[in-house]
């Protein structure tokens, strides 16, 4: 479970997040939507411990990311929007590197790497250096290394950008599989159709402030999520 409690983040005098609070429960897929520069990536980076925040707290499965960053990070996996991986490394070495840091035993990593590499049809590319990869292929490597250590919580920033349709389908399948196992998925997206079909709950952020949060049905009512989002943007 992720609990965001009154989180405020400032960049100098500019407030990037203002008193943001909501919960993401176990076994749920939670979408986080907002226009460009609304504060989505800032919040995601605060959750995964990349950015510090000025006020409030973020609780990951009962532990504060402020006080216990290492044990919180051990429960999570993060897929960034723009996978800036170690270009000079071979893909397999990068995945192994992440698994080593998470101290994943050989048998588990072997099972997971093979499973996801096959699923994303990238098995024959794992011996190539990452610098030779396209954006989508890098995204696949970021996904494999995130999933290889069986995280309890998966956090993704725009995970579908750059992926081919087959990979988008596979990622959605993986997400559904994970929530069946009681895991938590929190992701930001601009693709409102995906959010609408896939997620049980959603939060909408505008200029650093949370404007709506709740069940998909509560939020959109009879309208489409796109209409609700655009209406909120015009307010």
């Amino acid at each position: 479970m992720i609990e965001i409690k009154n989180v405020t983040k400032k960049y100098g005098s500019n407030i990037a997040l203002k008193n943001v609070s909501f919960k993401v429960n176990d076994g749920e897929i939670f979408a986080f939507i907002g226009h460009n520069g609304a504060g989505k990536t800032t919040l995601i980076k605060a959750i995964v411990g990349i950015h510090k925040f000025d006020e409030g707290d973020i609780i990951i499965n009962g532990k504060s990311i402020k006080d216990n960053p290492i044990s919180c990070k051990k429960e999570m996996a993060f897929v960034p929007d723009n996978p800036e991986l170690y270009d000079q490394m071979k893909a397999i070495d990068f995945i192994n590197f992440i698994c080593d840091i998470y101290e994943i035993p050989q048998n588990i990593r072997e099972k997971n790497i093979k499973k996801y590499a096959k699923m994303f049809e990238i098995e024959d590319k794992l011996n190539d250096t990452i610098e030779s990869f396209s954006h989508g292929m890098k995204q696949k490597i970021a996904l494999i290394s995130a999933l290889a250590h069986d995280p309890k919580i998966l956090i993704m920033d725009e995970p579908f950008v750059g992926l081919d349709p087959k990979a988008v389908f596979d990622v959605k399948e993986i997400m559904n599989e994970m929530i069946k196992e009681g895991k938590t998925i929190f992701f930001s997206t601009h693709i409102l159709d995906v959010a609408e079909k896939l997620c049980s709950r959603v939060a909408i952020i505008k200029k650093g402030e949370l404007v709506k949060v709740g069940n998909m049905q509560e939020i959109k009512g009879d309208k489409s999520l796109e209409t609700v989002f655009l209406d909120l943007e015009e307010m």
Binding site: I50, I70, K73, E84, L85, I92, I101, N127
Partner: protein, 537 residues
Amino acid sequence: MKKYISLIKASMTEGMNLFRISTKNKNTFTKFFLPIFLVLMLMGTVYFYSDLLMKELSKVNMEFVLITLFIIFTSIMTLVEGIYKSGNLLFNCKDDNLLLSLPIRRGTVLLIRVFKFYIFELLYNSVFLLPAMIVYAQYTKPSFIYYIVSLVGLLVFPIIPILVASILGTFITFVASKFKGKNFVQTIITVIFLLVILYFSYNLQNFINDIAQNASSINDLITKLYYPAGAFVELILKFNIIKLLEFILVNMVLFVLTILLMSKLYFNINSSSKSIKISKIKKDYKIKTSTPMGALIKKEFSRFINSPVFVTNAGFGLVLFILGTVLLAVKFDSFADMIIQKESTMDLDYIKSCMPVLLFGFICFTSFMTSITSSMISLEGKSFSILKSLPIKPYTIIESKVLTAVIVMIPCILLGDIIVFIRFQFDLFSIILTLLISILLPLIAETLGIIVNLKYPRMDAKNDTEVVKQSMSSSISVFIGMAIIGITIVLLYNALKANISNNTIMLAFLNIYTIIYLVLVLFLHKTCEKSFDNINV
């Protein structure tokens, strides 16, 4: 014309801001005063040594030799550094896609990059040339013409070295791009070029003698050795407007011709330098397990060996150290003769007995001039967020960087040590002290380097050269290193003069350096997490 000005302006504000750092704490002291203070300190040191030299030169009315020495020194420095910097500055930059997609000629992209290279070298050379020019003015009280000629000289001197370096860098990039392991090949060819230059420098005496026999005057000799230096000296001694125009024109024409010639090949070489040759033979991938520290060190090594500019910058000093010790072992008698001729109070046995201290000075110089860690945080670039999101303590990450650097350095230093131990038959105590110093000094240098890089990270560089050679962190590390080397050498010299035994001197230094190391480690422990958090990517 407006678009070219805009391009140069954009390019300059992006790449040339040496004071640019990527942390939250950008207070005025950190951003401006400290680097300015360090630059002024370096200029002050150059001024001090120029003044010392000038005192001797003025006795024989050869003040202009000082200027000549500095012009040749800065030109060689620009050329040597330029050879391994230029490939990275001119080709395969992160803004390639943007610049090459704009409606401008491809040659313009090259021109902008060479111009950026020139501006940086101009600033760097000025740190050394300006103090020497001031000292010359103080001693000779020249007319205002000297100041105009000096200004022109400052602007013109970097041109020839950067053009030669750019041509060689382009050639190296071109050859390396034909191979699968192009980064490795680029590093090897660069090192070969640098060793060739080193070999020629070593044999410079014979070359100069040959020229001297055919030169009618000292000035003629200088001109024959290096045209810009000779022309400049001629202008400050006997001003002639035609000669001044010729001096400017020769350099300008060379610049324009080189850019025109290089621009014919630029696009092709740039494209092939980007191409990645993938092996057609697909091997099964291996899934291996390591400890977190082992994985971090492996990752650091992979980053290090895949960056030609990083390897050359760090490795060249270490190669020089090994070559220096070999040379010392083989040619010791002729070196000793040279010293004895100048200092008649010394004999062969005395010089031999000073070897432990001399080796210590050499180790100190190599360690502090080989700051690998001062670029390691900055080279993470945007991928720094991967490290920040991992469940591992910042200190462990920092430790892995320092360890990687000393794993590169210590074996090279120990190899040099062993050569000297065998040749000069050190006693056991000296061997132990030297070995301890050989481990301790790289540790201090690299711990210091990482502290500086944590304080002054540059996470948005367009290429590795901007980090390794043109960032605030690497410059500050070099300045601090120079200060430590200077202080150590002065203290060593005075201790030797006071007839303190080698082992006592080394023991005293070992104690001082141990304290410095412990203080640095404590400081790093205390501040590393905060500094790590403050870095924005």
